[in-house]
């Protein structure tokens, strides 16, 4: 089952390697990983998407917490939560493609009429998948997307 785990860590060098190393050393999967500092500059926040059965996910959470710089973790898949990722598409500017993407909610952030354009789309991972599915791959010059960041709904925050 797919799990989205948010993690607060000490913002120190090497912490990302510790987390990535834990997954490779123990044979766990990382689907996506996002990391950035928070408003508190001593703390970074990660959003990690992984797959596994309950036993493996339980071990992953425990092993993450065992890493010394990990302050706390939260498996938001168990809660009502929101996830958003970003997609950037560079496409050949031909036909109605630009308009179709705009209609689907993408923003055009760069454009050379008749040559190419870059569209940006933010949404849930499934929405990004849907955009890609409806886009003609032949016309895609380049594509990049992020893994999701996420937080749970409700007034309670996940902070140090």
């Amino acid at each position: 089952m797919r799990h989205t785990i948010t993690i607060l860590v000490e913002n120190e060098f090497g912490v990302l390697t510790r987390i990535a190393g834990l997954f490779s050393a123990r044979g766990y999967n990382i689907e996506t990983l996002n990391v950035a500092p928070t408003l508190d500059e001593t703390v970074s926040r990660l959003t990690l998407v992984t797959y596994g059965d309950d036993k493996i996910i339980e071990q992953i959470k425990k092993q993450l917490n065992k890493l010394i710089p990990v302050i706390k973790t939260e498996d938001i898949s168990h809660m009502v939560h929101l996830e958003r990722g970003m997609l950037m598409l560079k496409m050949i500017d031909a036909g109605e493609r630009r308009q179709a993407l705009q209609d689907a909610g993408a923003h055009i952030i760069d454009h050379d009429e008749g040559n190419y354009f870059i569209a940006e789309f933010t949404g849930a991972p499934e929405a990004i998948d849907a955009i890609l599915e409806q886009t003609d791959a032949e016309y895609i010059i380049e594509m990049t997307r992020t893994g999701p960041v996420g937080m749970r709904r409700g007034s309670k925050g996940f902070v140090v």
């Binding site: 860590v9 000490e10 060098f13 090497g14 390697t17 917490n65 065992k66 010394i68 302050i71």
Partner: protein, 566 residues
């Protein structure tokens, strides 16, 4: 007060109460060695290989109850230490290793004797640090000791670039270490303790299974014994847990697992309550998982939450320090005032005694035949009264030592359990001798293992350590040979030696006493000589039955109740 990094290093070790460190100098740690030369707060023991520094610090830690400390140089010094770091981490032994590093400005330039030791040791340690400012040094050292010694102990590396040793700053001693991201739990959840005690009193076939956690929680062995007696429950120990209960306690049924006793493995297979106390259900303990303790409710007490329900699902997990949790359990027992089910226990003990009658560790030793390795272990037990500090290497001799030595007390069986490091025994004894110079120290080893760290005889001689090395020489890598015989149709692929040194002469060359025993008579004489007053180490090369196998045995992948007895 302005101090150099090297002076801060010395001052911090002094304040941490360090009395002995094990190390080997080199370019990147010269500033620190210069400061060590000018101080008298702690001793420095010069080993002959960095791996041995870590094993010696490990042996010292296990006997003294303090944190092991070692100091090695950058590059090859540090990479040589990696095995010892992984070993201490696997066995949960507090061990802080300081590694030199090339000067800050040269990091990343592939400089002479540069290695990315923080990168290399990340998965071999509990945690590691690279010191980037001299101002951070004192706090980093403080945190390193804190992390190594608390929670589930382990190894910690502090990598110190050479120029940090020369740099100066105002020395500030951090009185307290408080890390928001590292807060190990010590006492067990009260509700879980209540439930555990209820389960213990209701059990008809209880079994206590204790491991190295009993060693790390100093003083907890006495609590384990009390609990076993109050519950009238059998106790089995893991390899790491031997000595957790005296070998002659009637509740002790021996070690469990691959080379455990028949009675211990059968009892685990038939118990209805298994209480794991500071043990981690290692594959060498459990055998085939789906057949392990099939009828038992499992209570798992461990300071490390990741150990719980990793291999065997715990019905009742208790996270906490084993010593504190055992005390909580004993308090709750007297609070509830209940008594165990005496009727059921009587039947349970009858069953266990029946299993005991198999006498699974029995050895036939003829007067004229080859010396059986088990006989040697038993004779050493007799001559030392079961009171020696025993270290082992890894292989057949290790299992025979575990089965036959019979320990009276905890903290006296030093072996590489988790990583299984050949070469551990001799340097561990060097460390043990620094912690307990007046106690008899025996290294049980094999002709293969001893050659992995034999250079430490020089260390033992330099410090005139009265270590007795007992070499069970069968001219084979015995355990490899045994598995090849049993599982590879006796194709002894590279498991024997075409040339072995004359160990007695080698020992003499290193300055010790070298003895050889081919017969039982010679063995008795040699043991007598070895344990009489000597100036330094004694090395006994004993020719033992060449193709003796370790039994009983649970073949890999088999269930505990599918033991091969001989």
């Amino acid at each position: 007060m302005q101090m150099t990094g090297a002076e801060i290093f010395v001052e911090c070790l002094k304040r941490e109460g360090v009395e002995v460190i094990f190390g080997y100098p080199g370019g990147a740690v010269l500033p620190i060695y210069d400061a060590i030369f000018q101080q008298s707060h702690f001793k420095h023991i010069l080993v002959r290989h960095e791996q041995a520094a870590l094993h010696a610090a490990n042996g010292y830690a296990r006997v003294s109850g303090k944190c092991g400390v070692s100091l090695v140089t950058s590059g090859p010094g540090a990479t040589n230490a990696v095995t010892g770091l992984a070993d201490s981490n696997a066995d949960s032994i507090p061990n802080v290793c300081f590694t030199g590093q090339v000067p800050l400005a040269m990091i990343g330039t592939d400089a002479f004797q540069e290695a990315d030791i923080v990168g290399i040791t990340r998965s071999a340690t509990k945690h590691n640090f690279l010191v980037k400012k001299v101002e951070d040094l004192a706090l980093t050292i403080r945190q390193a000791f804190h992390i190594a010694t608390t929670g589930r102990p382990g190894s910690v590396v502090v990598d110190i670039p050479k120029d940090i040793g020369f740099a100066t700053c105002d020395f500030v001693w951090p009185e307290e270490v408080n890390m928001r991201s590292y807060q190990p739990k010590t006492s067990g959840h009260a509700g879980q303790i209540k439930k555990a005690v209820r389960a213990m009193l209701q059990a008809k076939r209880p079994m206590l299974y204790s491991g190295g956690g009993i060693m790390n929680a100093r003083g907890s062995a006495a609590l384990l014994k009390t609990l076993a007696h109050q519950l009238n429950a059998p106790v089995t120990n893991t390899l790491m847990g031997l000595g957790g209960i005296p070998f002659d306690d009637k509740h002790f049924v021996g070690m469990l697992g691959m080379h455990g006793t028949y009675e211990a493995n059968m009892a685990v297979s038939h118990c209805d309550l298994l209480v794991s106390i500071g043990a981690r259900f290692d594959d060498r303990v459990t055998g085939r998982l789906d057949a392990f303790a099939p009828d038992a409710k499992v209570i798992h007490i461990d300071v490390d939450p990741t150990s719980i329900s990793k291999n065997v699902r715990a019905d009742l997990p208790i996270v906490g320090d084993v010593g504190i949790v055992l005390q909580q359990i004993l308090d709750e027992l007297s609070h509830q005032g209940g008594v165990p089910d005496m009727e059921a226990l009587k039947i349970w003990w009858q069953q266990i005694d029946e299993w005991r009658e198999k006498d699974c560790l029995h050895v036939e030793q003829s007067d004229e035949g080859a010396i059986k390795p088990q006989t040697v272990i038993r004779k050493v037990h007799d001559i030392t009264g079961g009171n020696a500090i025993v270290t082992t290497d890894v292989g057949q001799h290790q299992m025979w030592a575990a089965q036959h030595y019979g320990l009276k007390e905890p903290h006296k069986f030093l072996t590489s359990g988790g990583l299984g490091t050949m070469g551990y025994g001799l340097p561990a004894a060097v460390g043990a001798a620094m912690a307990a110079p007046d106690e008899p120290i025996v290294v049980f080893t094999g002709d293969a293992s001893i050659q992995m760290c034999i250079q430490e005889l020089a260390t033992a001689y330099q410090y005139r350590q009265k270590i007795v090395v007992v070499l069970l020489n069968n001219a084979y890598m015995g355990m490899v040979r045994q598995w090849q015989e049993m599982f590879h149709e006796s194709r002894f692929s590279h498991s024997y030696f075409d040339s072995l040194p004359d160990f007695a002469k080698l020992a003499e060359a290193y300055g010790g006493v070298g003895l050889r025993a081919d017969t039982l008579d010679e063995l008795d004489k040699a043991l007598k000589t070895a344990f009489a007053a000597q100036e330094s180490f004694v090395f006994i090369d004993i020719a033992v039955a060449k193709e003796e196998n370790v039994f009983p045995m649970v073949p890999a992948g088999a269930a505990l109740n599918e033991m091969v007895l001989a």
